[in-house]
């Protein structure tokens, strides 16, 4: 976990000392009510900058969002050889379908799934698809594979918060959920014309 624990001033739309006091107590509760178990340590209970900023009733103001997004953008690791989509869509499919990994019942922090289907439609033939995120059916077929689109998609997969600080999507690359190789496989699943996503 490469999380930054920035102490950013909060813009939670609260007023008065009692609200702040309540917030302090909530933060303490989010520590005290938990215990470390295996790979799920108590460090997970501390919020980093975007987590903190995006836990309010309303998102932060535009300027704060912009700043947060810029900081997240700087964390994205782009493929050194420019190979964005050269993965194996079949591997990508497995990663997209697997919701496993990083819980306290997982023994190691690697070999995780991407859990894409939990929130997104991808293969039009798949019925059991989530709807929290937008549908990605026909992703490459509909959007083409211009450098702009491909780069955006890689970045979004690596660190979704670079594009929307309060996105519901996990930061797959930055958060150590998926490896660069795994992300390339998911890219292939989205862009490969032979992938079920584009049928």
């Amino acid at each position: 976990m490469k999380k930054l624990f920035l102490a950013l001033p909060l813009a939670l739309g609260l007023s008065g000392a009692s609200a702040d006091e309540l917030q302090t107590r909530v933060e303490q509760m989010m520590l005290d009510s938990f215990k470390a178990n295996g790979i799920a340590g108590l460090d997970r209970q501390k919020q980093d900058a975007v987590q903190k900023a995006c836990s309010g009733l309303t998102p932060p103001d535009a300027e704060t969002m912009k700043k947060l997004e810029a900081a997240e953008m700087a964390t994205i690791k782009w493929p050194t050889d420019g190979n964005f989509t050269g993965g194996d869509w079949k591997e990508g499919q497995k990663i997209a379908a697997s919701g496993r990994g990083l819980t306290w019942t997982d023994k190691t922090a690697d070999n995780n799934g991407g859990g894409c289907y939990n929130c997104h439609a991808m293969d039009p033939k798949e019925v059991s698809e989530g709807t929290i995120g937008p549908s990605l059916e026909g992703y490459g077929k509909l959007r083409g594979s211009s450098e702009e689109v491909v780069k955006y998609t890689w970045g979004k997969l690596w660190n979704s918060k670079a594009y929307n600080a309060c996105s519901d999507m996990p930061r797959n690359g930055y958060g150590g959920i998926l490896t660069e190789t795994q992300i390339r496989h998911v890219m292939a699943y989205l862009f490969d014309p032979a992938s079920p996503v584009n049928q």
Binding site: M1, L22, R25, V26, M29, M30, S33, F34, K35, N37, A40, R44, Q45, K46, V50, Q51, K52, S55, G56, L57, P59, G99, L102, T103, W104, T105, N118, C119, A121, K125, E126, V127, S128, E129, G130, T131, I132, P134, S135, L136, E137, G138, L142, R143, E148, V149, Y152, K156, K161, Y163, N164, A165, C166, S167, D168, P170, R171, G175, G176, I177
Partner: protein, 267 residues
């Protein structure tokens, strides 16, 4: 809407719902399935066990739980679960059904709470507590959920729960609100209640505890919350800890007035 507005121009152009969206699986209708399962809920098997446990003298003190006060007086089970969590003067705590039963097991039977707190779901005394839950909640079936939010300590827990609900943390940045703050959303084929609204909060609160068809297990609300946190990739919540009580008060309180349907049958 919020998320869409916040996309960068490029993001919005690319990532918004594609024209194909909704073609497949947007409306999964499980009504017929659920209706056919409503009668003959296997949770009834656990309820029988719980009723037996309630009346059986057990523990170092060799006592039954028949004098346990769940908030409506010693031994009153009828309608008790619908009014929990509530504030109890004898413990000076806001307690949900499970923490209250745990208290009774220690106070009356001498079964140490630590054994339950440090135990595992479905096993040992924590497993027995779940059977007791099945018994007690069945006696609130059809009753309106009635949480006393006028009590300052309960209201305080509600406010803490509301914050905890939106508290993003862990390896995937999730909060409860990541999945439970919009209408009509799903994880895979599982429909998610919008807990920020009274109907959704009532839906969530009144359908657990439940028999889970996917693993043939009876899960209490503590168990449900514990596994939500596991899937959120947080550290492990302690059994009956403040965060579990706070979230319960938030959900139950927001769902006030709705009919309890316990025990449920869930995926």
């Amino acid at each position: 809407m919020r998320r869409q507005l916040l996309f960068t121009a490029l993001g919005a152009a690319i990532a918004l719902t594609s024209p194909l969206a909704g073609a497949a699986g947007d409306e999964l209708n499980f009504d017929a399935y659920r209706e056919m399962l409503a009668d003959g809920n296997p949770a009834e098997l656990l309820e029988m066990e719980g009723e037996e446990l309630w009346r059986t003298a057990r523990g170092p003190k060799n006592a039954t739980l028949e004098q346990c006060d769940l908030g409506r007086g010693p031994g009153v089970v009828e309608g008790a679960a619908a009014q929990l969590p509530r504030y109890f003067a004898d413990t000076d705590k806001v307690q949900d059904l499970e923490s209250r039963l745990m208290h009774c097991m220690e106070a009356q039977q001498g079964i140490p709470s630590a054994e339950i707190i440090n135990g595992q779901f479905l096993k040992g005394e924590r497993g027995k507590l779940a059977a007791l839950v099945a018994y007690v909640v069945t006696h609130s079936k059809g009753k309106p959920i009635a949480i006393d939010l006028s009590h300052p300590r309960v209201k305080e827990m509600y406010d803490m729960g509301e914050r905890a609900f939106r508290y993003r943390t862990g390896a995937m940045d999730f909060a409860c609100s990541s999945c439970h703050s919009q209408d009509g959303k799903r994880i895979r084929a599982t429909q998610l209640p919008n807990i920020t609204k009274p109907e959704g909060a009532a839906e969530g609160w009144s359908s657990w505890p439940a028999y889970r068809v996917s693993n043939s297990q009876f899960w209490t609300m503590q168990h449900r919350l514990w596994d939500c946190f596991r899937q959120q990739r947080t550290a492990e919540p302690v059994f009956a800890s403040d965060v579990t009580i706070a979230l319960s008060v938030f959900m139950a309180g927001k769902g006030n007035g709705a009919e309890a349907r316990w025990p449920g049958v869930k995926r």
